[in-house]
């Protein structure tokens, strides 16, 4: 059994975040243990015994997939993320830990695989295996959905999305997943129509994504992190910032079937100086979040109708700890399609590209 030598990594270097998955084998034989170089051991120990790395690296412990069998080996899959800005330090660490001495290929996807390829080569003597991010995304997503989330379904949806009181998260499986409209919300947004694991097309994309939410929040409120921005948003009221249909028409705009509570103009109240002076940072954060989310929902819905696909799967790190957006998307899909479309979400939101990259590593070992 000539399985690929450890360590097993998959990496997705996005515009804002680097997502890293690490397979920690738990079935190491004594013989292996002895042969294992010190270097490799220290990497394993470092990654599995910490939940934070440096100032900005985080291991999402709650997402860990335990006792997973991959390529004939059993182990735990760890999910780690850090800002793309820290990439030079990460590469430096690869150099310091003499990563290049290990017999492994570093499989990387995302734009950073291309952008940092040369840095890896010159600074750490590492050769990247560059992979297409959409290929990896789909492969990783289908894989995680297949193996499940430690005995639970990976996928979920919201029941009664139109009613805030009775709206509840419900687990489900992606049985017979095709065709699906896959909406990946990272810094920007890509929308794919997926017909099978290897047959998909990028329908469109939008530059109004997670990066826009955070970027605008930073400018408007002075916050610094995604967590901070979301925290503020959760406390704010967007109707102080947005102009609603009823603000213009006094009620519903019946001629066009628009409810009074619908947003007519995002940030529309901010045209008035008086209103600008009276709103809170929390309101601004909330309005930014709602604006970006609704817009993505609207484009996704149009694509679903144009492509004649009823199942819309939302992934990407914008949705991390972001129930405001997931519920809003679920509501928007349901409401505007009159129940025709269903929004689905996945627990491992932003990590599928990295998982897909790891799978490519394992595939290359089996092939030659």
């Amino acid at each position: 059994n000539k399985s690929k030598s450890f360590p097993w990594f998959g990496m997705d270097i996005g515009g804002t975040l680097v997502k890293l998955v690490y397979f920690e084998p738990v079935d190491i034989t004594a013989e292996e243990e002895q042969e294992e170089v010190e270097n490799l051991k220290s990497i394993r120990r470092y990654l599995t015994s910490n939940v934070a790395y440096g100032k900005t690296g985080v291991r999402d412990v709650h997402l860990e997939l335990r006792n997973l069998t991959m390529c004939g080996r059993t182990g735990n899959l760890h999910f780690i993320r850090f800002p793309t800005q820290a990439m030079p330090r990460f590469i430096q660490m690869g150099h310091d830990k003499n990563f290049s001495s290990l017999h492994t290929t570093l499989c990387a996807t995302g734009g950073g695989a291309y952008k940092f390829e040369n840095d890896f080569r010159t600074m750490a003597d590492l050769e990247l295996l560059k992979l297409d991010e959409l290929d990896c995304l789909i492969r990783g997503l289908l894989y995680v959905d297949r193996v499940g989330f430690n005995g639970h379904p990976e996928c979920y949806y919201f029941q009664n999305p139109s009613d805030t009181q009775s709206c509840v998260k419900k687990p489900c499986t992606l049985e017979d997943p095709f065709p699906m409209l896959l909406v990946n919300i990272g810094s920007g947004v890509s929308i794919l129509a997926v017909y099978s694991e290897n047959n998909y097309k990028r329908v469109t994309g939008t530059s109004l994504g997670g990066g826009t939410f955070l970027g605008l929040c930073c400018l408007l409120t002075g916050c610094e992190t995604f967590e901070e921005a979301l925290e503020m948003a959760s406390k704010g009221d967007s109707t102080n910032v947005d102009k609603l249909v009823k603000d213009i028409y006094g009620g519903d705009y019946e001629r066009f079937g628009l409810q009074g509570s619908a947003v007519a103009s995002s940030f529309g109240h901010m045209m008035s100086k008086e209103k600008r002076d009276s709103i809170s940072k929390e309101d601004l954060a909330r309005a930014t979040l709602v604006t970006i989310t609704n817009n993505i929902g609207s484009i996704a819905r149009m694509c679903a109708v144009n492509e004649k696909i009823e199942r819309v799967v939302f992934v990407g790190n914008f949705l991390r700890i972001n129930t405001v957006s997931t519920k809003l998307l679920a509501y928007a899909m349901d409401f505007w399609s009159k129940g025709q479309l269903r929004a689905l979400f996945l627990e491992h939101e932003g990590y599928f590209g990295a998982v897909g990259a790891l799978m490519e590593l394992l595939k290359t070992t089996e092939d030659p």
Partner: protein
């Protein structure tokens, strides 16, 4: 009293000016709120910053009429051919005025003071600001405010301008020689998508006059740009935000594909400069961003987003015509450019973003039409009055200050109700691609320069002629001077903004001059000259016919063509014609073939075949041209067994023969010539009006009756004569039947352009592809 009133308004506007320094009124004040004394049916559209007022008035102006003398008194009365009289005629006109909301009270006062004969009780109102000013309007004018749905008004207005104003829609191309590419009027304007970008975005599918549906929208619109922009840059005004944006660099704020990939994302065809994440670089606390850069990034974000949604809806509903409007667009080059860019990107060039010249007026026009339904305004055709309309103003920051000042104050649109409904010539090969004008002066800077110069040069002569045409009226000189100022101002405007009234063409320059002459009550400066010319030419008619009859068949055909060409050289309108000697020179030269464009041999060959069923002849000048050139030619056609429809102008233009004059002339000729007489009697020779009062010819706007006659008679030959109709316009017009275009190029610049010399002859006989060149098998579409 009118001048006193206008003095008041300019005075009070100046008072306002003291408070708002950047506002100045540069339009001559006596031009605003014209014809108020006859006004009825008011409508008002009050937007966030601009008010648009619409009203309907009747305009009394002079028209020249001709009338045969009573036979009994003829001998005694005069030796003239017919009688010319100037009469008062009342026509309907629509007035639209746009001004800043700051002037609303002053304007209402002014209207109140001048509203004399009105029976109007209500004023139709639309727009977001309508409720805010309701009380003020009711109090000031004593009219009841009747609110109309905004979107319904918008669509109604849009349909109206698309149907009635040629060159209403345009494509915006920032980096092209001419920023504005005007679209030809489509025979069927439906279906289309209207994307209205106000504070939010509404996407409306319009399927017919009464059927439209809001199929979608977005909350990210002009209000988002303004509101978010104000928060980010502390800049309060929308225009200032746009100015900031036009100076900024979005790449410092946006995360581009190359910021993520280091280059392009090749496998998806995403270039490195593409925005991956709007504001993606601003998610940091340690960097300051300039106002300009943030405004630019915001502008891109919003424009791209709207463009994307518009494309998704256009695709879903399979629509290719997408018009953009709303305050976000309203003549702003910056936003027209970003929206155009976005549409190009998302549809890969399959859909073009279209904008409207009178976009700002749609709501007011629609509200007005709602109120005027009992007058059936949609039953008529309407025409933009170039004399009374301000034209499209660019508000681009790099335009010269004169125009910028104007764009902020008063802007006007006037539309005249035409006496007849105008339709396409049924014989156009492809009405949707027909462009009347041969040269687009908006795009051709050299040609533009030449023609603007040419018209300015000719202005003195036109003024003189106008004065001379009214010797009994002492104030004619004063009026003519006003005409001169008006037209010169138009020419100056067009020099800076050639796109002001759609594509600038020789035709539009000529039409503008006619509109200005009419405006100052010079309805027909050439009437006496035409009368005189006709009189002289008639005396030679019999002699001319006789000498033609003496020729052999083949000689005669050639002589007839030369006769038309030579007759056409007699043209007081053309600059190069000074004396009769030149005519003889021409007659000499024209015998030398080949001509510049010469398909005479094919024409002659065709004449050897069976006769045409019916020929439609668009005639040109009075006098020698019509009497000694055209009529003998027509006579020959009649003799061959071809029916002839003579189409002449409905109203006067230069020395062109009008339908009224032609009626008299043919009567007189019929009295001398049994062939013509028989033709008239047997209804084989018919006179129709073209519906036009222009020296040029737009085959897509012709009298409905003409179209009907053409169809009924199964017309299989169209003859177009003269420089205005066959060279400046229709030179490239493709017809579905045989056509003959005959003209002499009487302008050396133009001759040079076409590769010939002064007095070059164009004789263009064409048979549409796929039709037999021989035989009367050519049928017309019925």
């Amino acid at each position: 009293f009118f001048f006193v009133g206008t003095f008041c308004i300019s005075a009070s506007i100046k008072t306002i000016n003291r408070h708002t320094m950047d506002k100045s009124i540069t339009l001559p004040p006596d031009e605003i709120f014209r014809n108020l004394e006859n006004a009825k049916r008011f409508a008002i559209d009050i937007g966030g910053s601009l008010t648009k007022l619409a009203y309907y008035s009747t305009v009394q102006h002079k028209v020249a009429k001709v009338r045969s003398f009573d036979k009994a008194t003829k001998e005694a009365a005069s030796d003239k051919l017919y009688e010319i009289s100037v009469q008062e005629e009342v026509t309907a006109r629509l007035h639209f005025i746009k001004f800043e909301n700051a002037y609303i009270e002053t304007c209402l006062d002014f209207i109140k003071d001048h509203l004399v004969n009105t029976e109007t009780k209500v004023i139709k109102a639309t727009g977001g600001g309508a409720h805010k000013f309701k009380e003020l309007i009711e109090r000031k004018l004593g009219l009841k405010v009747d609110k109309e749905d905004e979107m319904t008004c918008l669509i109604k207005g849009c349909n109206f301008v698309l149907r009635n104003i040629p060159h209403e829609a345009f494509v915006y191309a920032k980096h092209a020689d001419s920023e504005f590419r005007f679209q030809t009027t489509q025979p069927d304007i439906f279906p289309y998508l209207l994307v209205n970008i106000g504070s939010g975005v509404s996407i409306v599918k319009v399927e017919s006059e009464d059927k439209f549906e809001r199929i979608g929208g977005s909350s990210i619109g002009g209000g988002t740009f303004w509101g978010l922009g104000a928060l980010l840059t502390k800049t309060k005004r929308f225009d200032e935000l746009l100015q900031l944006a036009s100076k900024g660099q979005h790449t410092s704020v946006d995360m581009l594909v190359k910021d993520i990939y280091g280059g392009s994302y090749g496998s998806l065809g995403l270039t490195g400069d593409l925005i991956a994440s709007s504001f993606g670089k601003s998610a940091t606390a340690d960097k300051e961003f300039s106002k300009e850069d943030m405004a630019k990034s915001l502008l891109h974000m919003i424009s791209n987003d709207i463009g994307q949604l518009a494309c998704l809806y256009a695709k879903l509903h399979n629509l290719s015509r997408v018009y953009f409007g709303g305050f976000f667009i309203r003549g702003h080059p910056v936003t027209m450019h970003t929206i155009t860019y976005s549409i190009n990107f998302f549809t890969k060039g399959e859909v073009q973003a279209l904008f409207l010249r009178h976009e700002g007026y749609l709501g007011a026009i629609g509200a007005f039409l709602k109120g005027a339904e009992e007058d059936n305004p949609n039953q008529y055709s309407w025409g933009e009055n170039y004399a009374g309309s301000s034209g499209l103003m660019s508000v681009s920051p790099d335009m010269n200050p004169m125009q910028r000042a104007r764009s902020g104050t008063f802007d006007m649109l006037e539309m005249d109700r035409l006496e007849r409904q105008l339709v396409n010539l049924p014989l156009l090969q492809d009405p949707s691609s027909y462009i009347p004008d041969t040269m687009d002066l908006t795009e051709d800077a050299l040609a533009r320069e030449y023609w603007l110069y040419c018209f300015e040069e000719a202005l003195d002569g036109v003024v003189k002629r106008a004065v001379a045409s009214q010797p009994d009226m002492p104030e004619a000189a004063e009026r003519a001077e006003k005409f001169r100022q008006k037209y010169r101002h138009k020419l100056q405007t067009l020099r800076h903004q050639p796109f002001a009234y759609g594509s600038l063409t020789v035709r539009s320059l000529l039409d503008t001059r006619e509109h200005c002459l009419n405006e100052f009550n010079f309805p027909d400066p050439y009437s006496k000259i035409k009368q005189n010319e006709n009189d002289i030419a008639l005396k030679y008619y019999q002699k001319a016919v006789k000498s033609l009859e003496e020729l052999s068949w083949e000689e005669r055909q050639f002589a007839l063509v030369r006769g038309v060409l030579a007759g056409n050289v007699f043209d007081w309108g053309a600059k190069a014609i000074w004396h009769l000697g030149l005519i003889y020179l021409f007659i000499f030269f024209s015998s030398e073939r080949p001509w510049l464009v010469d398909s005479y041999d094919q024409w002659l060959e065709r004449l050897r075949g069976p006769p045409h069923k019916c020929a439609l002849f668009f005639v040109d000048n009075s006098g020698v041209d019509i009497i000694l050139g055209v009529i003998p030619f027509v006579r020959e056609l009649l003799s061959r067994g071809t029916e002839v429809v003579l189409a002449s102008n409905s109203g006067p233009a230069l020395n062109d023969v009008t339908n009224g004059e032609l009626q008299i002339l043919t009567e007189r000729i019929a009295a001398m010539d049994p062939v013509i007489q028989a033709g008239l009697r047997e209804d084989r020779l018919t006179l129709v009006q073209s519906g036009s009062s222009s020296p040029c010819l737009d085959l897509s706007r012709l009298d409905k009756v003409l179209a009907q006659v053409v169809r009924e008679r199964q017309t299989d030959l169209v003859i177009i004569e003269g420089m205005g109709r066959a060279i400046h316009t229709n030179y490239y017009a493709m017809l579905s039947c045989e056509s003959l275009k005959m003209a002499v190029i009487k302008n050396s610049w133009l001759a040079d352009r076409l590769g010939g010399k002064l007095f070059s002859v164009v004789f263009k006989y064409e048979v549409p592809a796929g039709k037999p060149s021989q035989g009367s098998a050519a049928v017309t579409p019925s």
